[in-house]
């Protein structure tokens, strides 16, 4: 009797399961057969109507039947869920090559990038960063740097004047004097900034950027200077960049050197950028002149110094392959856009 009822129910279930394709139909199936008002629960209720001694066997049959149906239902439920998820994914598929929706970031100026990079490199070596005034007095810009009035070294620095003894700084070197006047040695400092010279042609802009470095300690030498500048060159260009010293002259250093780095374009084999020499001139430096140290109120027998200066725009041009300094000051966003970090 119960066996027949179960068989009939199984037939219905088989048919119903075979037609299920969606979660909605699964719910219907559950309600119709497995729910509180479902057919299998109804079979349980029918147990009361059969003889007492047959009940355990019939009950076992119904339970077995219910378990098997539940198992099949769960399997189908998992399958449908998987199918539906797949359909959702399919319908939501996007063309990843379509444009992004965003506020595109802008960019820092290339000279700023180079300035920040150099300051970071030197900060790591114990240098502070100091920025001075673009307008300087004659004393700090020239005289204290061992370049008195009518000194021939002033020729190379055509100066903008604001007043008789007030100038737009022609280099970042006056920072050396300010730092020696105000900081307690030993110290290390880099001084980036805008500088100005009366020069405006194909290869010069009347304003450009330099970075000055100064180390004041008890025993520093040319070897330390080359160590520092080697680090700078490697950080700025590539780890295998080399530096070379050759004699030069600055009134505020003695000895003075011009520093060449191996050409970042050809690696030193010679190309158009380095005019076939394999070397590019980017820096000047030297051992701080004892007079300059004395000018700042320090004892040159106790304190020694190293100083160097480099053109930030020139480094930016070399680093980014910009062949004309005026490009750096053009302001066209097609140019600026290219310097996103």
């Amino acid at each position: 009797m119960m066996k027949e009822k179960i068989a009939a129910c199984r037939a219905q279930i088989d048919e119903a399961l075979s037609k299920i394709a969606s979660g909605e139909q699964l719910k219907e199936f559950h309600a119709r057969f497995l729910g509180k008002a479902g057919a299998i629960t109804a079979l349980m209720r029918d147990l009361g109507q059969i003889p007492k001694e047959e009940r355990p066997a019939a009950g076992q049959l119904i339970n077995e039947f219910k378990n098997s149906v539940t198992e099949r239902f769960k399997a189908l439920e998992a399958e449908v869920a998987k199918r539906e998820m797949q359909a959702k994914y399919d319908s939501e598929s996007v063309d990843v090559s379509m444009p992004a929706v965003m506020h595109a970031p802008g960019a820092l100026h290339p000279t700023s990038l180079v300035k920040a990079r150099l300051c970071e490199v030197f900060a790591g070596m114990g240098f502070r960063v100091w920025e001075g005034s673009e307008i300087e007095d004659d004393y700090h810009n020239f005289t204290a740097l061992n370049t008195p009035k009518d000194h021939p070294a002033r020729d190379k620095q055509d100066t903008f004047y604001i007043g008789e003894d007030i100038v737009l700084r022609t280099h970042t070197s006056p920072g050396q004097i300010h730092c020696m006047e105000t900081m307690k040695p030993p110290f290390k400092v880099v001084m980036p900034g805008r500088v100005f010279r009366c020069d405006d042609d194909a290869t010069h802009t009347p304003m450009f950027h330099q970075i000055e470095g100064l180390v004041i300690d008890r025993h520093v030498s040319l070897c330390d200077l080359q160590g520092l500048l080697d680090t700078l060159a490697k950080a700025m260009f590539t780890p295998d960049t080399k530096t070379r010293f050759r004699p030069s002259y600055f009134p505020f250093t003695e000895p003075s050197v011009e520093v060449d780095v191996s050409c970042c374009e050809c690696g030193g084999s010679g190309c158009r950028l380095c005019k076939g020499t394999g070397w590019i001139e980017i820096l000047g430096g030297g051992v701080v002149n004892r007079r300059v140290i004395a000018n700042c109120g320090l004892d040159p027998d106790e304190w020694t110094g190293l100083a160097f200066g480099a053109g930030l725009d020139r480094i930016a041009m070399l680093k980014y392959g910009v062949n004309n300094i005026h490009i750096l000051y053009d302001g066209d966003q097609s140019i600026l856009r290219q310097f996103r970090k």
Binding site: V129, A153, V220, L222, E254
Partner: protein, 801 residues
């Protein structure tokens, strides 16, 4: 300076040393060869030809057909020429097909095979002019017609070999610390020391004749400006043409040969670096030379016929009556050497470089002499140079050297500089240990007198080295000769460890820039100066502080003549520039100093400003405000915005920005008038903040505040308000009415006929935060809203929709 290599090789023995090696050696001495030029850079492909036959062309009255033997280039080349000074057997320069020579206009031209009156001509016979030379270089090169070469020249030989045009002339840059290298001799001396090669000093011997003429009186009244003055009298002068070897050297070094006396002064200047002058003694009144400061408004006419009005800052050479030379710069026209000059006073002096430079700049007058004096001339060489000039007078047979020599020195017994130091100190500068014997060897080769005792080192500089002051100078001379390749990189061993890095203020400035970059801004760097017209774009009213600018006294042009008092004009120029380049929108900022004039001799103070501009499609007052707000949010400060007026901004769309009770700047829409002046298409919104006021507002420390234990509650309110009521007023009123409101955000504004004319509906999102120890119940929030609505209705006549 220009250095002919043949001359250099004459003085220092450079056998077996190539020009390339010489260049490298000079480079390591700090003498950079800027250019290596051939003596005749433009002449090529010209060879010696022997004329085998010269016949008159049949249909021409002046053209000749020549058959020319050019050796390996062809032994029977037909060339047509119009010249008439040639005959068979002559050796002549022949420019073959492809050769380059100078045309009639002085420009370089290339010779090609062609036809003259139908007759093939396969080259050109050249004149001296076409080869760029005249009689000063080669005998007969100045004649009109073809240059006839000597008969012993080989057909096919390059004329540059035949005419000595293969010399090289190098342009060498001399740094200001090497005045002793400003001459052929000086460079030779340096090179000889470096390469350890023998030197041949220029001859300085001569014989003197007794004279009975009047004494010549020399008085130096300004010994501070003229520490040494030598005058030497040469009688029986014969003014003539100098020998070709001298003329050639003068030509190669950029001097025009004039006559023996003038040429000798230029030759000595080039050879030894000592400027000289020759006075016609007959024009020197009273046979007196006085070196003194000029009197106020005294005048002189120099050799180039320019008249100058002088002042006591200028040094002049005078006779008993008048100035006869502008000291160190140029002689006077009144005492110049003439063809009939018979007696000469040579002047050889040291004038102080600062004074010569000052006078040269002040008067705008310069010469080879002044250039040398400005770099510095040493008074030892002053004496040598006079002897050299007198030797040349004798050698060129252009006068009689007399016994009359007057030598005035401020310091009768100059003591050469002696440096007492130690090898250790020298090596400490370099950072390496140069062996003692190498140090002393180098110093001796550089003509120092060296005494050593253990580690101590006493070096007396040669008399011509007035630049030596201290032991680092010795260290530099040693390493130049020893070689900079001996310096090895080392990282500040033994130096103190120092704390480096950015200050907080510097870090904040970098962060501020990054915040703007992430908002889509491009950083600009503009010049610190601009044109008054740039400032005029702002149409500032009289009295506006931005019109009070720092001016540059000597600007390159009006375009860069005033220091910036505001960054806005630079931003406008950039926006305009981008518009003209086809861009339709853009965001830009610049962080830079602005300048304000100072009183008296004080430095004009600079203030760091942040200027920004957003322009074009998609930008509005509120996107500009968003950029400002992003800064506030990034640094955790509160900006408040109040309506204000700025002369060049839209009167209805301009806000001032306050932070911590201080006004930090403004932003708003650029006025249509200024936009038109700046040629900007589309709306542009600009702002400028005083970073020096803003930066101190950034908190240095973050203090943690506990988050509320119970959740916040959100409520939206749609309010109807009069048009005139501002969002800020409503927000303030809501906050004032209920202390539990922790956030008020406007999210919609709506106008319609239904709401009524002159009214607007504004939807606000409110956040209520529980303050006590219990969660907020819906009833409690209802009460808050009630209170807020009552307050809004009472204070601002606002109703709920």
């Amino acid at each position: 300076m220009l250095l002919p290599i043949s001359w250099l090789r004459d003085i220092v023995d450079l056998t077996d040393i190539s020009n390339d090696t010489i260049e490298k050696s000079l480079f390591s001495c700090g003498l950079e060869v800027e250019e290596r030029k051939s003596a005749a850079p433009d002449i090529s492909g010209v060879v010696v030809g022997v004329l085998k036959a010269v016949t008159r062309m049949e249909n021409s009255d002046h053209l000749n057909i020549c058959r020319v033997d050019c050796g390996e280039y062809g032994d029977d080349i037909q060339i047509v020429t119009g010249a008439s000074n040639i005959k068979a057997g002559d050796h002549v320069p022949v420019a073959l097909h492809g050769a380059t020579v100078y045309g009639r206009d002085g420009k370089v031209t290339t010779i090609k095979n062609g036809k003259l009156l139908g007759t093939p001509s396969n080259g050109m016979l050249c004149s001296g002019e076409e080869l760029g030379i005249d009689d000063d270089w080669y005998e007969g090169a100045g004649v009109y017609g073809i240059l006839i070469l000597s008969d012993d020249t080989r057909p096919g030989a390059d004329v540059k070999d035949v005419l000595d045009l293969n010399d090289e002339v190098w342009d060498i840059s001399i740094t200001a610390n090497l005045p002793h290298c400003q001459s052929v001799w000086g460079i030779a001396r340096e090179l000889a020391a470096l390469l350890d090669r023998p030197l041949t000093p220029p001859a300085t011997d001569y014989t003197v004749a007794d004279v009975t003429d009047d004494e010549i009186d020399v008085t130096v009244q300004a010994p501070d400006l003229c520490p040494r003055y030598i005058g030497h009298y040469v009688s029986d002068v014969k003014v003539k043409t100098s020998p070709r070897w001298m003329r050639r050297r003068l030509l190669l070094t950029g001097h025009r040969p004039i006559n023996t006396l003038v040429d000798i002064t230029n030759y000595v200047l080039t050879e030894l670096g000592q400027p000289m002058h020759a006075f016609d003694l007959s024009t020197i009144a009273g046979k007196k030379i006085i070196v003194r400061r000029a009197e106020q408004d005294e005048t002189i006419v120099t050799l180039d016929e320019n008249e100058f009005k002088l002042s006591p800052g200028n040094l002049v050479i005078c006779d008993a009556e008048k100035p006869v030379a502008l000291a160190g710069i140029m002689g006077g026209l009144n005492s110049e050497i003439r063809p009939d000059t018979s007696a000469v006073l040579f002047e050889c002096a040291k004038f102080m470089r600062d004074n010569i430079r000052h006078t040269s700049r002040e008067l705008g007058q310069s010469s080879d002499s002044s250039h040398r004096f400005e770099k510095g001339v040493d008074e030892y060489t002053t004496g040598v140079a006079m002897d050299r000039a007198l030797h040349l007078v004798e050698e060129l047979d252009c006068g009689t050297v007399t016994r009359r020599r007057i030598d005035r020195r401020a310091n009768e017994n100059p003591v050469p500089t002696t440096i007492r130091t130690t090898f250790e100190k020298l090596n400490a500068v370099l950072g390496i240990s140069v062996p003692r014997e190498i140090v002393t060897g180098i110093l001796k080769r550089m003509n120092y007198t060296v005494v050593t005792d253990g580690d101590s080192l006493t070096a007396t500089a040669p008399a011509y080295r007035e630049d030596i002051e201290d032991y680092p100078d010795l260290a530099e001379d040693v390493i130049k000769m020893y070689g900079y390749e001996h310096i090895t990189p080392r990282m500040m061993e033994g130096c103190a460890i120092t704390a480096g890095g950015y200050t907080l203020a510097q870090q904040q400035a970098l962060k501020l820039k990054d915040v703007l970059v992430m908002q889509g801004f491009y950083e600009l760097i503009n010049y610190s100066f601009y044109a008054p017209q740039d400032l005029a774009l702002l149409r500032l009213p009289e009295g506006d502080p931005r019109l009070n600018v720092v001016r540059i006294q000597n600007p390159i042009s009006e375009n860069y003549s005033v220091m910036r008092s505001t960054l806005i004009p630079s931003l406008l120029r950039i926006v305009s520039h981008n518009g003209k380049r086809g861009h339709e929108s853009g965001r830009f900022f610049e962080m830079a100093n602005i300048f304000t004039p100072a009183e008296g001799n004080a430095l004009p103070p600079q203030t760091m400003h942040l200027g920004f501009a957003v322009w074009g499609k998609g930008e509005s007052f509120f996107t500009a405000k968003g950029a400002a707000q992003a800064i506030a949010d990034a640094f955790g400060v509160t900006f408040t915005y109040e309506r204000t007026n700025v002369p060049f901004l839209h009167p209805g769309a301009t806000a001032k920005v306050l932070c911590g009770g201080k006004e930090i700047g403004f932003f708003g829409q650029l006025s249509y008038e200024s936009a038109e002046d700046a040629e900007i298409v589309g709306d542009v919104f600009v702002g400028e903040f005083d970073y020096d006021v803003l930066a101190p507002m950034f908190p240095e420390l973050v203090r943690y505040a506990p988050i509320p234990r119970f959740p916040t509650v959100e409520r939206d309110l749609a309010l109807v308000a009069d048009e005139a009521v501002t969002c800020g007023e409503i927000t303030d009123a809501i906050r004032a009415a209920c202390k539990n409101v922790t956030d008020v955000t406007l999210f919609d504004v709506y106008r319609s006929a239904q709401i009524g004319d002159g009214k607007k509906s504004m939807a606000f999102g409110l956040t209520f935060t529980p303050t006590g120890d219990a969660p907020l119940s819906p009833e409690a929030v209802d009460k808050f809203v009630d209170k807020i609505l009552k307050s809004l209705s009472f204070r601002l006549h606002i109703s709920i929709r």
